[in-house]
């Protein structure tokens, strides 16, 4: 039986694990243990040893990020921890589960992270549409405050921590770390120039760590059971389990916790039950809209942070979107470009202008008005979105499905132009 620490306490009926039940299953023991005499740096050390990497998509080593935060009495207060719960990557639906079903696991993870970086204030930055998460997190925070697990001098220690829930007003850009910080400061969620990185100058100019929900939910388990155990959950070098999801025309769309490094094929076939009758597999985006398509010959690669590099892709959020043979790849990419174009904050020209252009070219192709040369124009646009040409990763993310679709499904693009119609409609 595979160990599934993140989801093991969750109820099948969808109701949340409440405070009493969370504690009965060993909850809030990790923070007690740490406050009983483990130094912040040791907590960071454990997380480093566990090889926990950021589950928001980029995979940055969590302990390393924490180690960039200045510690000690001379550091100007406050230091902030921000939980990025702005889950808006198309095709991604994993953090919702963690917040709806086991909110205290996240809160304890945030407490441990906060302690490790000596944070005084922690925010959960939640997307507006996740109403049930908001209700359950608010309830969990209020229950934790009532028992004085949050606030002044937690568990009789000298450590104090405030924790607040911020509900966003909705924009994909808020998921970008520096855009999120601007949004939390009451501004437009435009990205900031880096460096300085948030760990030095983040929220309100103070040292700030921004971590994803799933990343933080792993931390209590690392502290309770140790780095070696956490590494052992994985089949590869990246520690832990991972929430994997599948959407599209498979038999059982859904979300599962499985060892890091589980093969793409196992997730697609064993967990999601393979393709529905009548449709065939053509390709998939491994982890949200901002990842490169992979195809049949790549299915035996492992889902971890480096495993898909051989196929020119990456795990991203770990929630796959499946392209079947009855769905138009050009239409799929057009839908993705519409999304990126609409959600672009308008700060960098290659992004706002280039995405609109790509959207128009693909729209024309779908409607039978594609021209010779459009494919080359699309390639040029994708080049314009390369890292370094814009402030943030929105445009580079948009380039990934576009460039890889042009590579894997080029015939489809050419056919749209040649036949002056969408062959799938």
């Amino acid at each position: 039986m595979t160990d599934t620490p993140l989801t093991k306490n969750m109820h099948a009926d969808g109701s949340p694990v409440d405070l009493a039940e969370y504690e009965a299953s060993g909850g809030y023991q990790a923070i007690r243990k740490v406050l009983g005499g483990i130094e912040p740096k040791q907590v960071t050390g454990m997380v480093k040893d566990a090889v926990l990497r950021g589950r928001g998509g980029a995979g940055f080593p969590t302990g390393t990020k924490w180690s960039f935060v200045p510690l000690g009495p001379e550091v100007p207060n406050p230091t902030y921890l921000v939980c990025n719960a702005d889950e808006m990557e198309p095709g991604t639906f994993k953090d919702r589960l963690l917040m709806e079903r086991d909110p205290h696991q996240l809160i304890e993870g945030m407490m441990l992270a906060s302690y490790a970086i000596e944070a005084d204030v922690a925010f959960i930055f939640l997307r507006n549409e996740y109403r049930l998460c908001a209700e359950r997190l608010a309830r969990a925070l209020s229950d934790a405050c009532a028992k004085q697990y949050l606030g002044k001098k937690i568990f009789g220690s000298d450590y104090s921590l405030e924790m607040h829930l911020h509900v966003s007003a909705g924009r994909y850009m808020c998921g970008e770390e520096s855009g999120l910080l601007n949004a939390l400061e009451g501004k437009r969620a435009n990205p900031r120039l880096k460096p300085p990185y948030p760990t030095t100058a983040g929220l309100f100019g103070k040292p700030t760590v921004v971590n994803n929900v799933e990343t933080l939910a792993c931390v209590p388990h690392i502290v309770n059971r140790g780095a070696e155990w956490f590494r052992g959950l994985s089949r590869t070098r990246d520690g832990g389990t991972k929430l994997f999801g599948v959407s599209g025309k498979v038999k059982r769309p859904g979300l599962w916790e499985a060892p890091m490094g589980t093969l793409v094929r196992e997730i697609l076939e064993d967990y999601a039950g393979g393709m529905r009758d009548g449709v065939k597999f053509r390709g998939l985006l491994p982890g949200g809209a901002s990842t490169d398509f992979i195809v049949e010959s790549d299915l035996d690669l492992p889902m971890d942070f480096g495993g898909l590099a051989k196929a020119g892709s990456r795990m991203g959020t770990g929630t796959m979107i499946i392209l079947d043979d009855g769905t138009c790849p050009v239409g799929m990419v057009r839908n993705l470009m519409q999304f990126f174009s609409r959600e672009s904050c308008g700060w960098c020209t290659p992004c706002w202008s280039g995405l609109q252009w790509a959207e128009r070219l693909l729209g024309a192709m779908e409607e039978g008005a594609g021209e010779p040369g459009d494919i080359e124009k699309l390639s040029e646009l994708a080049w314009m979105w390369a890292p370094g040409h814009t402030y943030c990763a929105l445009a580079p993310g948009a380039a990934e499905p576009l460039e890889s679709a042009l590579k894997h499904f080029r015939d489809d693009f050419e056919r749209h132009i040649r036949e002056k119609r969408c062959p799938y409609s």
Partner: protein, 154 residues
């Protein structure tokens, strides 16, 4: 003028931030929750209350997808038009909804009952296609089951 209730709620959120301006997004949400949308008058009231300019406020208000700077109907439908819903039949659901409501995206029905808007991925891709009505999630939509889903919103 902001109501006493609005001020009370905004002040409660403002305590969490070191600057006055930081509460702006919460404040816009709060005002909208009381008034249905953020009118020019509401924006002016809020600007005065936060000691900010209306232009600054509008720059922020117009940036966020879920702040309405135009009046909306009694109920707001947000139909997800992102990738997983698109694969699973979003187009048919949109056509059926538009036909039933007699309006398309960005419009409000003549009786003021519904405003129909698109929304980015709602994070329930395994239950696609999906929509929110007044924030309430409806999943596994088909052209045939949307009428039933809308019935309860009078």
């Amino acid at each position: 003028m902001l109501s006493a209730e609005e001020i009370h709620e905004i002040e409660a959120e403002a305590q969490h931030y070191p600057t006055r301006e930081a509460v702006l997004i919460d404040a816009l949400r709060i005002v909208q929750s009381h008034r249905g949308w953020v009118s020019d008058d509401a924006l002016r009231d809020l600007a005065e209350f936060l000691h900010m300019t209306e232009a600054d406020l509008d720059g922020v208000a117009s940036f966020y997808n879920l702040i309405y700077r135009k009046p909306v109907g009694r109920h707001v439908i947000h139909l997800c038009d992102s990738i997983s819903c698109w694969i699973e039949g979003y187009a048919g659901v949109r056509r059926a909804l538009a036909a039933r409501l007699g309006v398309d995206f960005g419009e409000t029905t003549k009786d003021g009952r519904f405003t129909f808007l698109p929304i980015v991925c709602l994070g329930c891709c395994d239950r696609a296609p999906a929509m929110l009505v007044d924030g309430e999630l409806h999943v596994h939509l088909t052209p045939d089951n949307i009428a039933g889903a809308l019935e309860k919103y009078a």
